[in-house]
Structures are given as structure tokens and as C-alpha cells.
């Protein structure tokens, strides 16, 4: 029973991490019309950044602002240098461009750091277990990750639902041709969305670093799962991405715990089911 509770919480926390990655992906698709296969690599870069920052400074806490700031800068750079030019290109070009980025990022990681597995220590402040019910206790750091992810999700929803810029982002995600009509500078919106998406993916990587090993290609699994999140959630929908991420995180975690051989297949099967019933996404409007 207690392990089941732990798995449930793990699933929730994994789902929230997936939300950080998938929400950026869905907004970048929705607003810019760009497919970014390298989004999973950004997650890996965030995790390695945490490893390096925690290693040099000795405190994990600096890694989180570093991931956010680094992500915003890196995202702005990528958007201006590459993605801006690829908005109107064919899917094939976008797929290959971002595939090339995966290869280049992986090789850069190999040159700058190495090809080994690394671990990042859970910060001492949170290195204890919190008793929950009966004899069941749960890692304080994992609870903190839960809280941080929820806070970020709430902030994002507030931003998108309540601010003017957020409203134009939503309008753009639902109908890209609208942006020009709204009189908003589409280029600024694109840059903002891409930078924020990059920062979210790298933050997710940094948060995940103490939870799992930091290793080459660690973003690949997250990439596939966050794509599934986008499909199930409906293109460009933040709220849809949220619920879909929780669903996918839960199914994947419980699957890996109880039927490890079928977990990967189960998640894809779930997506197949959604496509059969509602091809526009489970949480899409209308």
C-alpha cells in the first residue's frame, strides 16, 4: 500500500515535470508553427547545467535560477539565429533542422563534459523524508519539486489567462493569423514564447537532476512522452497539456512500477485510443 502511495506521488511529480516540458512544446507549436524535436535535448542541457553549477558552487540552489536565466538567453538566441527563419519552411526541413540540433547538442555535451553517468546530490536542506500517513514517508525534495511545478503551472495559467500578452499568446495559439490583426508585434510574441519554452524545459531538467542520473540522451524519453502530452492535450492548449501531462505521467510511472515491459507501449496505446475517439485531442475545445 505504501509503495503504491509512493508510486502515485511519483506519477504526479513526473507528470508535472512533463507539463513543464510539454507546455513549452505545445505553445511553440501553436504560436510559431514550429516543430522542435530538440526540445528534449533542452531538458538534458538543463540537467547538465544543474550538475555543473552544483559541482562548481557546491549549492544546488543556484542551479534553478541558472537554468531559468540560461534557458531564457539560450532560447532567445536559438529563436533569433535559427527558428525565426524556419517558421514558413516545410515540416521536413523543420524536422531535420531540429534533429541536427539534437546531434550537435549531444556532441557538444560530449566535448564540454563527458559521456559518463553522473548524479547530483539532493540538496541537504531537503534531504529527509516527510511522514505522510501511517508508516508512509515521502522524500521532501520530491515534494518540493511537486510544489515548484505546481507554482510554475499556476503562474503560467495566470499569465496566459489574465494578462494582455497572455491573451495574444492564446489567440495566436488558436489562430496564428489573428496575431497580426490584434496589432501585437508577432515577432516579440514568438521570441517570448520560444525563450519561455526553453527556460521551462531547462528548469525541468535541473529539477529532475537530483531525482535521476544525469546521462547522455536523457531527453529522448521525455521528448516522446511530451509529444504524446501535446497530442492528448490538444495543440496549443495549456490547460489540456496540464491534464494530459498528469495522465501520461501517472500511466508511465505506474506502468513502469507494475508492468515494466509494457509501460512504453501502454502510453502510446493510450494516445492511439485518444486519436480514435477524439483526433483533435482529449482536452481540445469543441
Amino acid at each position: 500500500m505504501t509503495t503504491f502511495l509512493a508510486q502515485l506521488l511519483n506519477g504526479l511529480q513526473y507528470g508535472l515535470l512533463l507539463f513543464l516540458i510539454g507546455s513549452g512544446l505545445t505553445l511553440i507549436f501553436g504560436v510559431m508553427g514550429v516543430i522542435n524535436l530538440a526540445h528534449g535535448s533542452l531538458f538534458m542541457i538543463g540537467a547538465y547545467l544543474a550538475y555543473v553549477v552544483a559541482g562548481y558552487t557546491g549549492t544546488f540552489w543556484l542551479a534553478l535560477p541558472a537554468a531559468i536565466a540560461g534557458g531564457l538567453l539560450f532560447g532567445t538566441f536559438l529563436e533569433a539565429a535559427l527558428f525565426r527563419r524556419f517558421r514558413d519552411r516545410e515540416h521536413l526541413d523543420q524536422v531535420l533542422l531540429t534533429f541536427a540540433l539534437i546531434l550537435i547538442f549531444e556532441e557538444a555535451r560530449s566535448i564540454l563534459i563527458d559521456n559518463q553517468f553522473h548524479s547530483v546530490a539532493v540538496p541537504a536542506l531537503l534531504d529527509f523524508s516527510v511522514p505522510i500517513v501511517g508508516g508512509f514517508a515521502y522524500s521532501a525534495y520530491r515534494l518540493a519539486v511537486l510544489a515548484v511545478c505546481l507554482a510554475v503551472a499556476a503562474l503560467m495559467l495566470l499569465f496566459v489567462e489574465r494578462t494582455n500578452i497572455g491573451a495574444s499568446i492564446r489567440a495566436a495559439a488558436e489562430n496564428p493569423e489573428m496575431v497580426g490583426l490584434l496589432g501585437v508585434d508577432a515577432r516579440r510574441i514568438h521570441m517570448l514564447v520560444f525563450a519561455a519554452g526553453t527556460a521551462l524545459a531547462m528548469l525541468a531538467g535541473a529539477l529532475a537532476a537530483p531525482l535521476q542520473s544525469v546521462y547522455p540522451g536523457m531527453g529522448d524519453g521525455f521528448l516522446i512522452l511530451s509529444f504524446i502530452v501535446v497530442v492528448i492535450g490538444g495543440l496549443g492548449s495549456i490547460g489540456g497539456a496540464f491534464w494530459a501531462a498528469l495522465l501520461v505521467g501517472m500511466v508511465d510511472t505506474l506502468g513502469k512500477a507494475y508492468v515494466p515491459q509494457l509501460a512504453g507501449i501502454a502510453v502510446c496505446g493510450m494516445m492511439a485510443l485518444v486519436l480514435l475517439v477524439r483526433p483533435a485531442g482529449l482536452f481540445a475545445r469543441g
Binding site: 516543430i35 519552411r89 521536413l92 531535420l96 550537435i104 549531444e106 560530449s110 509494457l262 507501449i265 486519436l275
Partner: protein, 303 residues
């Protein structure tokens, strides 16, 4: 998508003859390298039916290639006359299921769903004991019609692969000239209008998806036969992306483009280690250059 011109087909035939004559003037190593290129060409050519033919960019294609390869392992040592059709049929059945679902979507969603379904096939062999484990497994080759000695193998497989590729190319060349082929090109050019004019776009796309899947299965079968080794990596989406790269390198608008692209990429992978060990960097930069500069592919240069 245009087939090669008369002169282009003549050049392709001459190149084919040159490859066929390799047993006379070169050794096992280079014949195996040529086989690798021929198999890559079959795989990319099968994907070109979707990309250049119907405008569908699929990332599930390596899954069908891998299924064809694993069919050889699962069948055990049978006659190649059995294993080849079974590999094609297995891949076709998988493509029918995956295509029926993912073709309900278009654009980005199609990309994402094919990526996920391709990975589902990958997990099937990576996570379960069905395919002999995640590190891959050596296999017993199917029996050819006559007994082939170990020394003859590279030459025999080279000629076999060449024959299969030539048949595949000729078949697709003819196919693109049928009403079906023209309808596919129409869908690539303007799917909405084709639908409005009364074409059953969904069925046409599904037919192309299944046929392309079957041909990828044939390519996978030839890979297993040639290498006597299969691993889950064969099904990974990176392989699909590489095939897309071959198509882009060779020229998206030309049926023979993927053949040129496959040869170019195989040679690049063979010789780039002489300059640097950073293979992925080289490949990444080549893709960047191809996407940014080479808009019509090698076929466009050698028009």
C-alpha cells in the same frame, strides 16, 4: 515527384552495372559497404513514396524497417522465398494499423503521432523479451535458393541487394505514372482541393502508407539477411530522421534522390572518422548545410 529523365535512368543503370561488377575488382569490405548503401537506399526510397509522393513526413518508418528485420529473427532459418514476403506482410499489417490511426491527423499531429507509434514498436523490442533483448541478437540467415559459401557471401548479398533495389525503383517509377501515383501527387500539391473534387484522400494516403511500410519491411529483411544481426536500434526514430535526411540530401522532388542521398550519407559515415571522431557533429552540420543551402538536393545539382 519526377522520376529521373531518360539520361538520368541511363546513368543510374550504368552505376548499377558498376556496382554489379564490384565482385570482379574489389574485396569483401567494400562490397559490404556497398550493400549497406544499397539497403539504406531501399529504406529511403520506400519513405520517398510518402514524402515526395504524398507529402507525408512520417517518423514511424524505421519501425517498419525494424519489423521486417525482426521477422527474419522470429521466423528462424526458413527459405528466403518465405521470409521476404512474410517480412513485407508483417510490416504492411503494422503500417495498416498505425496508418489508419495516425492519418486521422494532419500536419504536426501526424508527425507527432507517427513518432510515438514508431517508438511503440521500438519499445516492443526494447522492453519485452519478444526480440531477444535490448542489446540485439545474432540471427541465423534464411536459406537462399542455393548454398552460398562464406567467401561468396559478400558478392552474393551485394547482387541480391542491388536486384531488390532496382526492382523497387522500377516498381515505384511505374507506380508514380499510374492514376494512383498522379492522385498522390495531387494530394501532395493540394489535399483540400483533391478532397473537394471527390477523391477518397484518406484511402489513397493509407494505401501509400501501407505500401511504403511493406517496402521498408523488405529493406529491413535485406538488412537482417546481410548483417545477420538485429537490434532494437533499427526501429528508433533517429533512423527515420536519417532516412528523411537522405531524401533531403538527394532531392525531395526526385524519385531517384533518396538513392543518391543514401550513397552520400553512407560514404560520409564511412570516411568522416578519418577526419574527426565527432561523427554526430559532422552529421549535424551536414544537415544544417543541407537544410539551409541545398534546396533541391544532389539531384538538383546533377540535373
Amino acid at each position: 515527384m519526377i522520376g529521373a529523365s531518360r539520361r538520368g535512368n541511363l546513368l543510374l543503370a550504368l552505376a548499377g552495372l558498376a556496382v554489379a561488377s564490384m565482385p570482379l575488382w574489389t574485396g569483401a569490405y567494400h562490397m559490404q559497404l556497398a550493400s549497406t548503401a544499397l539497403i539504406a537506399a531501399m529504406f529511403a526510397l520506400s519513405l520517398q513514396l510518402l514524402v515526395g509522393g504524398a507529402g507525408l513526413v512520417s517518423l514511424a518508418h524505421a519501425g517498419f524497417f525494424g519489423l521486417g528485420a525482426y521477422t527474419v529473427y522470429l521466423l528462424g532459418p526458413v527459405s528466403v522465398l518465405l521470409s521476404l514476403p512474410v517480412a513485407a506482410l508483417t510490416a504492411a499489417v503494422a503500417a495498416l494499423g498505425i496508418g489508419a490511426l495516425s492519418l486521422r491527423t494532419t500536419g504536426f499531429f501526424f508527425l507527432m503521432t507517427t513518432l510515438a507509434f514508431g517508438q511503440m514498436l521500438f519499445f516492443l523490442f526494447h522492453d519485452t523479451p519478444l526480440g531477444g533483448g535490448l542489446d540485439g541478437v545474432f540471427i541465423q540467415r534464411p536459406d537462399l535458393i542455393w548454398v552460398v559459401s562464406k567467401a561468396q557471401r559478400p558478392a552474393v548479398f551485394l547482387l541480391l541487394n542491388l536486384a531488390v533495389l532496382a526492382a523497387m525503383y522500377a516498381g515505384l517509377w511505374l507506380l508514380m505514372r499510374t492514376l494512383f501515383g498522379h492522385a498522390l501527387l495531387g494530394i501532395k500539391a493540394n489535399e483540400h482541393r483533391m478532397r473537394a473534387m471527390g477523391h477518397d484522400v484518406q484511402r489513397l494516403k493509407l494505401a501509400a502508407f501501407v505500401l511504403a511500410g511493406a517496402l521498408a519491411g523488405v529493406a529491413g529483411h535485406m538488412a537482417a539477411l546481410t548483417d545477420a544481426f538485429v537490434s532494437p536500434d533499427l526501429l528508433g526514430w533517429h533512423r527515420s530522421a536519417e532516412a528523411l535526411l537522405m531524401i533531403l540530401l538527394g532531392g525531395i522532388g526526385a524519385l531517384h534522390g533518396p538513392i543518391l542521398g543514401a550513397v552520400a550519407l553512407t560514404l560520409l559515415e564511412e570516411f568522416s572518422p578519418l577526419i574527426t571522431e565527432r561523427q554526430r557533429l559532422v552529421e549535424g552540420l551536414v544537415i544544417l548545410a543541407a537544410v539551409l543551402l541545398l534546396r533541391r538536393g544532389l539531384a538538383g545539382i546533377a540535373r
